[in-house]
């Protein structure tokens, strides 16, 4: 562990892979092919991007002008708020991998995660300057904000589609088909999770009442 942190070349590799994300978002097809096949991406960089995205998401609450974003602080739960990114991300990664692995997808779970994180780059990249920008515009100029804000999301979405095609080595049609299928896979997972949680809570409630009854009789 110590070696890893002290090692100059590992830092260099990390920095290079982080810089490579810039190449990925501008040259998605070439970039995402190299990401896994040429091993130019690292988990460290992927995690960094994800953390930056999360920070952007939270910083938005505080630093975006109230003209565009009003925050009802009483009901903000920072963990729930973060999970609004983390949860769909996890769902997508697992759902996509679980599905594509059955249909000749070449990407492994870790690679799907890494590529998806690399796809998130436009979000912090645009959102941080946008936060500052939002404080310098009036309602009349709100269109600029909305367009740029939308752009950051659309860009991410297009990148994800491109990335998945390259990672799994799919043709365009097959890729799009499996993107749609992944969304359904996500829904199925949500359904199963809800089922699971309600079953567990029912089960727990049963044993709790059993225990109560037991204590009551004693």
């Amino acid at each position: 562990m110590k070696e890893l942190f002290m090692n100059r070349s590992s830092w260099q590799r990390y920095w290079k892979s982080l810089k490579f994300s810039m190449y990925c978002i501008t040259h998605p097809l070439d970039g995402f092919w190299d990401l896994t096949h040429e091993k130019r991406g690292t988990y460290a960089a992927a995690n960094t991007i994800l953390i930056l995205t999360l920070i952007a998401r939270i910083a938005q609450l505080r630093f975006t002008s109230f003209v565009f974003l009003r925050v009802y602080w009483e009901e903000i739960n920072i963990f729930l708020y973060l999970s609004s990114i983390l949860f769909p991300l996890a769902l997508f990664v697992v759902g996509n991998w679980a599905l594509t692995t059955l249909f000749d997808g070449k990407g492994r779970l870790g690679q799907v995660y890494m590529a998806t994180c690399y796809c998130l780059v436009p979000y912090p990249l645009i959102q941080f300057p946008l936060m500052i920008f939002s404080n310098f515009v009036t309602v009349d100029e709100a269109e600029f904000y909305t367009v740029i804000n939308g752009l950051s999301l659309v860009w991410c979405a297009l990148l994800i589609i491109a990335a998945m095609g390259q990672i799994h080595e799919y043709s365009l049609a097959k890729n799009i088909l499996f993107m749609v299928a992944s969304l359904f896979a996500m829904l199925v997972i949500v359904f199963i999770l809800m089922l699971f949680f309600s079953m567990i809570s029912q089960g727990v409630a049963y044993f709790i009442s059993l225990g109560k009854e037991f204590l009551f009789r004693l």
Binding site: F66, V67, R70, Y72, E75, N77, L80, S83, S84, F87, F136, T138, V139, D140, V190, L193, M194, F197, S198, I200, S201, Q202, A205
Partner: protein, 502 residues
């Protein structure tokens, strides 16, 4: 919408994370007067109006007690009550601060055969003292001169689109300065019936919108003939009451509206109609104008507020009376809620369900007619209410400094009063103190006014710092350019032949 987003966001995550756990909410007692903040949360408020006095037949000194009175009208110091159950109109004069004297009891008039009333429901009096009385039972509106001589009669409109069999039952009326009569008749939903000053019918104006959406359409397509007949037909709702304001516009309120239509804002509980019948009510509030935002259910009372009557003060504050919960709602000229107060009950200031039927005002005092208790409740402004009205008036008069001070006082009395903050901001804006104004607007999420202030502030700032901005911009372009230049010169020197070491 905001509320919905809030809920959905919380709910979606809650279902996943805390499936199984239940949320407990508890009802909280709230103050007599309340208001909603930007987030549509209920905010307790000090009283805007308090009960001055409750007057019954005994207080007026009437021999025959009032019986189910329906209509109320005020001109100058005179108050007219339509004593519907006793087929008469009672004219009262307000003496001093809290005394009403009976001036006249009108139960018949002169000039024609049929000279008594049958269940008169509304009365209006013009500046010349001429009476317009909606004589519902006799299917007519009569116009009398000030000595009660018959002048005109307004009868069922002669209109081919109107069902022959409908009995004309004029329920509420309003008159304009030109002597035109606007009338609501039970069972006629084409809008207000408008008569010219000579008694001729000149058309229907301002029919309420028909609420209809695509789900209704699909449902109707799929339904059988029998089912279709049982469905609610899509017809405009009738207005419940009208009020002619001091500028000659008609405020019209409708009570029996569909809950979903209200929520989706496809139906209006309150409208302000111009002569053409177009709705010109300003709706700049954070939430629509339909009284209570949260309806609840209990004690046999449910559903939205039922606006039975409306009155508008001279400063364009529209005050609506909800007969369902016995509440009174005030909206300013921008359609923002100023106050809400009242409730169901038997004590002064509260009304039983369906009891409060008419509201009028003398200056800023409110008069509410209770048809079950046969009484008139007078509401007077408190210090808080007085301050707010004063601040609004000063602002309209262009005295922005004084207005700002009055709003500050209102804010000190009620720290949860959004309008006070926005009022202070607006007066600061007029005084060209943009930076301070921005802070006040930001506190209460008023983005339009904030943008106005910010635009000026930004302009001022740029003008003040134009030198610095130019220098920074020049440097921004010049420095990279210069660095590039230096580098290329360096490069040229390095590769130049003459410096090559032999």
């Amino acid at each position: 919408m905001k509320r919905l987003l809030k809920r959905i966001g919380a709910l979606a995550l809650c279902t996943v994370v805390f499936a199984g756990s239940t949320m407990v909410t508890c009802a909280k007692d709230r103050s007599y007067t309340y208001n909603y903040d930007f987030w549509e949360d209920v905010q307790d408020s000090p009283d805007f109006y308090t009960v001055g006095e409750v007057y019954t037949s005994k207080d007026f000194g009437l021999e025959t007690r009032l019986k189910a009175p329906q209509g109320l009208f005020v001109r100058d110091n005179f108050v007219y009550i339509c004593d519907t159950g006793n087929n008469r109109i009672i004219k009262l004069e307000k003496e001093g601060k809290d005394k009403f004297d009976v001036v006249q009891i009108i139960d018949e008039f002169y000039g024609i055969e049929n000279n008594t009333f049958s269940g008169p429901t509304d009365v209006a009096v013009n500046a010349e003292g001429e009476y317009f009385i909606a004589d519902k039972g006799n299917s007519r509106v009569v116009k009398l001169d000030k000595d009660l001589n018959f002048m005109l009669e307004f009868v069922k409109p002669d209109d081919s689109t109107l069902d022959e069999e409908i009995v004309f039952q004029p329920n509420k009326l309003a008159i304009d300065t030109a002597g035109r009569v606007y009338c609501i008749s039970t069972g006629i939903n084409k809008g207000l019936i408008k008569y010219e000053n000579d008694g001729t019918f000149s058309g229907f104006v301002g029919a309420t919108r028909v609420s209809f959406d695509w789900t209704d359409y699909i449902q109707k397509k799929l339904a059988t003939q029998a089912q279709r007949e049982k469905m609610v037909s899509f017809v405009p709702t009738e207005y419940d009451n009208i009020y002619m304001d001091s500028e000659g516009f008609v405020y019209a309120c409708a009570g029996s509206l569909d809950e979903d239509a209200l929520r989706s804002e496809s139906a209006d509980a309150l409208r302000r109609l111009n002569l053409m019948g177009n709705d010109i009510l300003v709706r700049n509030g954070d939430f629509p104008i339909y009284g209570d935002l949260y309806w609840g259910e209990g004690g046999g009372i449910k559903g939205p507020s039922y606006f039975a009557d409306v009155t508008a003060l001279d400063n364009k504050v529209a005050i609506c009376l909800d007969k369902n919960r016995g509440r009174i709602f005030g909206y300013d000229d921008q359609g923002k809620m100023m106050f809400a107060f009242g409730g169901n009950g038997g004590i002064a200031g509260y009304f039983r369900q369906n009891a409060a039927v008419a509201i009028e005002h003398i200056d800023n005092e409110l008069l509410v007619l209770d048809q079950l208790d046969c009484s008139i409740t007078v509401f007077r402004t408190t210090e808080f209410g007085e301050t707010v009205y004063k601040a609004m008036k000063l602002f309209d008069d262009g005295e922005y400094d004084a207005s700002g001070e009055a709003w500050t006082k209102a804010m000190q009395i009620n720290g949860n009063y959004d309008l006070a903050y926005i009022g202070i901001g607006r007066s600061l804006l007029r005084q060209e103190k943009y930076r301070e104004a921005m802070d006040y607007f930001e506190l209460k999420y008023d983005e339009d006014n904030y943008s106005k202030a910010f635009k000026q502030y930004r302009k001022q700032w740029v003008e003040d710092h134009i030198g610095v901005i130019v220098v920074v911009l020049v440097l921004l372009f010049a420095i990279p350019g210069a660095i590039g230049k230096v580098k290329s010169i360096k490069h040229e020197i390095e590769i130049a032949d003459i410096f090559k070491l032999q």
